[in-house]
Symmetry: C2
Subunit: 436 residues, 2 copies
Amino acid sequence: MERTLAIDATQKIGGKITLEGWVFNRRDHGKLIFIDLFDRTGVIQLVCGEDASDLNVQDVITVEGEVKERGEKNINPKLPTGKVEVKVSKINVLSHAQELPFDITKENLEVELPTLLDYRPLTLRHPKVKAIFKVQETVIDAFRKNLKGLDFTEFQAPTIVPSVTEGGAQVFPVEYYDKKAFLGQSPQLYKQIMVGVFEKVFTVTKAFRAEPSETTRHLSEYVSLDCEMGFLENWTDLLDLAEKVILGMFRGLGEHRKEELDLYSATIPVFKTPFPRLKLREAQETIFKETGRNVRGDPDLSPEDEKDICEWAKKKHGSEMVFVTHFPTAKRPFYTHPDPEDPEFTLSFDLLGRGLEWVTGGQRIHNYEQLVANIKKWGNDPKDFELYLQAFKYGMPPHGGFAIGAERATMQILGLSNIREASLFPRDMKRVDRRL
Amino acid sequence: MERTLAIDATQKIGGKITLEGWVFNRRDHGKLIFIDLFDRTGVIQLVCGEDASDLNVQDVITVEGEVKERGEKNINPKLPTGKVEVKVSKINVLSHAQELPFDITKENLEVELPTLLDYRPLTLRHPKVKAIFKVQETVIDAFRKNLKGLDFTEFQAPTIVPSVTEGGAQVFPVEYYDKKAFLGQSPQLYKQIMVGVFEKVFTVTKAFRAEPSETTRHLSEYVSLDCEMGFLENWTDLLDLAEKVILGMFRGLGEHRKEELDLYSATIPVFKTPFPRLKLREAQETIFKETGRNVRGDPDLSPEDEKDICEWAKKKHGSEMVFVTHFPTAKRPFYTHPDPEDPEFTLSFDLLGRGLEWVTGGQRIHNYEQLVANIKKWGNDPKDFELYLQAFKYGMPPHGGFAIGAERATMQILGLSNIREASLFPRDMKRVDRRL
């Protein structure tokens, strides 16, 4: 008999069906055994006899049975299938599960982070853990859909790169045949090259940072949502685009991930459009006025500054999303375009939300000579950038772009306390699947 | 004035417009200078005066001008904009290009492979080269769209992995902090783990093979389109799915990439559904009958065998796509499910097209004890597979899946002679952007 999915059983009251899935939970009531069966569409209650007495949590089973309406007082309003149950006539075990190391039937999986990750294949099956990655899928889908709709071309950025381009220390070397290569810290240089080909491009790709410290918001390997566009009229086109992309994510989440957000009592950030925009120096003045903390003149925002600015934007503008722009030239990479009106600062931005950076971007230098001069000024050798520089040698339009960390966005939307929860198989100093 | 895209100029006859793009070509006729301007939508002819005499090929310009209909005899039927030209009144150079190392204005870019790759940022701008990556984008999009439509969940597979899982030699070691890790040869183990979470999953990810030889059909880094599904009724569900996914690609290419295919005089493969299916031993018999070459009993198909089988399928069944199934157990990875009716062979398949493998897949072992036994039998240590094995310890349904190389498919569709042409920035023994 063809398989019926749990969610579709509600449409087959009185009918005989076959269900397949995992035993999520089991409750014995004398000769009756109640099983919560889990498949990709959710949970459904099975009513079994003593032949279910061998079943363990996480066993994989096929059952045949009849769909019955539950009595009024037995309806479970929390389940989409809560009005029905299946009276099981036949059970077939596809795969037996061994005894579990902890209880995964609770509403909240009460394990510490190391255990959460040591048992990833199991903990990922918990509905709340699983939900994180449906949210992440939607974050990525929305990024892609939005940009495709704006005539951007998706390209595949390379992972193995020939040299270190943005900060030497935080890079992973690769033994590449008998030579040395590296894992890309960002697709930045490649996406700029691709602007010369398709004008408007994006990539969903891996980026790698050999962060020598353990924080709750950095991963050694993460998913970077990167885009770049040519023929800017004004550098603020980039802020408009970033705003549009983020709003597209919020829309996607609102449309498709209500259930998952509810599991975390999470809400989509409150915002005003356009998102408030202030220069770094203005942000620092604001922090001083609001809190008395004097960070005026600092070259960058500290985590505390980011929190304060977000708080201010929410209070003052009713927006949990806020742009900070014009970071100092010395604190941004060599390719960042200086502000023509004040070359000590750059045409760069961070989009902050709920106390953390979500997006970082800016306009890039497109003039070949200026770029070569900057590479030298930053202490690099233009020879290491030969391929990249060709794009500029042979004609590049004014352009810029930005990047979003997929795990970072997921974490912020759901209010997770550690970014490792937002990575399926997080890599850090102490772990690559197993503890190092 | 707001920018008009080349393709939209045809709708603005008599109007004043602003165009932006690259100088693709220049032809001087006395005081008149004809420029072919290139933007992301294509080419359009500009008619300029002597102020265009400084323009070089690949300069980036903004021009203002009036859209005029070309006289009947001046229409260029090969261009979508061929009925109009723009009489330019103002030219603004956004970026000057240096002298090019070769002529990129020809219909075919007549450079050897090393030059094609040494000057990648430039050669990618050639319409025929560019077209390859629009085709590739569609191949990947179609894979994704098809599987999403079938309720598959997309996940992000990790790139850095803790140990070597499928063949020890062909792997790239990574210096991971003070430890050693590796680049994943395939997302296989992770996609199986994810079947335990979402039942039906796919990933678009990088795979790495330290192939110690140079061939025209292998890359050191490639894009793997990987999917895996649980609750198989029959292992042939996988062949049906692979066929559906490939047909979805053909449909996507037919709908969106006609122009690009035409540039290569490429056609979508001819097929009969269901694609012919034959076991390896039958395929070898067929080769013997057709050609007299005796490869009966060989453990695998050689490149020559693949060509012969494809030729036969085309001749006999009118199909350029053909499945070969049931490869010997010894020639497939440890996780491959043996054929219950003949355990010397496996429930595995290759989908061949135009003489080369496009897809490879099969059913996997889902029984924990059987899998542990096989890991040992293949000479590996189950301890190295601890995380992976958890998925099976805690209940896994019958499942299987397959993988498609995005560059391989692109190459086969366009009839390219070297897979490097189908990779934006191909990595091999001798090259990571620059020659090693």
